[in-house]
Symmetry: C2
């Protein structure tokens, strides 16, 4: 991919970074192209030289970000499998990978959550595709685990996957927004406990 090194790619990257924080803070419609250009330190014309429109910039940003996330989740699952960990270990590693990602790209996460369940929007389609990619990684591990007899076969794979994703997402955003002094390990520990059912009494 030559595009990842050229001058143009560097400009796009600057625009992504400027757009992601502004849109996370204010929302898509409330963020102006002039603001994005200014924060990226670029002329407005450059925005339109690189992207067909404001929406297209946003869609490409979404794809870009979710690409990073799924790669990181997959990596965590594979890494665990390679080093002989169980499926629970794999889920646990994915939870951590999720937390690390959100910690690193909080603005992207905010914006993603804010847009995910919106209907009637131009990028609805993009979001669906991209969501499916991410949730599919979790579903994959759950399904394998059920097949291998490691997880209860009573579980509903897709609902459980959604619930797990939600658990991590909301806990992480809450952590960053309201208790930023906590460590990543604290948060990871709390979620691990919950995942393993050690909240409701048994040891």
């Amino acid at each position: 991919m030559k595009s990842s090194t050229g001058r143009r790619a560097a400009t796009k990257q600057k625009l992504y970074e400027a757009a992601v924080t502004l849109i996370a803070e204010q929302g898509f419609s409330a963020t102006t192209v002039d603001e994005i250009a200014e924060r990226a330190g670029v002329a407005k014309g450059t925005v339109y030289y690189n992207f067909a429109s404001k929406s297209v910039l946003f869609e490409e940003l979404l794809r870009h970000g979710v690409g990073l996330l799924t790669a990181s989740l997959r990596e965590a699952a594979e890494q665990t499998a390679r080093s002989g960990g169980s499926r629970v270990d794999a889920l646990d590693a994915m939870i951590r990978a999720g937390l690390v990602f959100i910690h690193r790209y909080p603005a992207f996460t905010q914006l993603y959550v804010a847009e995910l369940w919106r209907t009637n929007r131009a990028w609805q389609e993009t979001l669906m595709v991209v969501r499916q990619e991410a949730v599919a990684v979790v579903e994959g591990v759950l399904r394998d685990g059920v097949e291998a007899g490691e997880f209860s076969d009573e579980i509903d794979v897709s609902l459980t996957a959604a619930a797990l994703v939600g658990m991590v997402l909301v806990a992480a955003l809450d952590w960053l927004a309201f208790q930023p002094e906590r460590s990543l390990d604290d948060v990871h520990g709390a979620l691990s406990l919950l995942l393993q059912g050690r909240v409701t009494g048994r040891r």
Copy 2:
């Protein structure tokens, strides 16, 4: 309270209903006051007769909605306690109450999630207050459970509460958006299993 029956209150209610779906679909900034007025079957001036500004309308809408939610969660917890259920039962009842609420007011939930972690916005303060009220109900049950020795004392009350809320929120929104054919009991069942740690193997 006379205000809950008069002509004016009826108009406000119509405006809330119009605003909630439009803002859930499009976001706050992308929704125009003209649209809200039109959907409510009212002139634009009426919106400004009843609310000082678009933001104020939105803030009052938030307070209104979260009030309903917390009442419903508290009710579920108390009902369980009264009929001699355990804390796990109370959590489970609250999960169900949450699902029922989201099923009934999906638009409100979408809009709440979309705005909750935004910074730099006029209603930031309102959201904080209102969030605290809702999460506090869950935290209360967790704290009581730990004190009573029913939950592990290793748990981190506030992080666990956030994670539980997230689990319900995301699972429910996913249910409504992507698998609406599932029943409430299906979703509740999946979340119960997860809460009780019966996903990762033990019976």
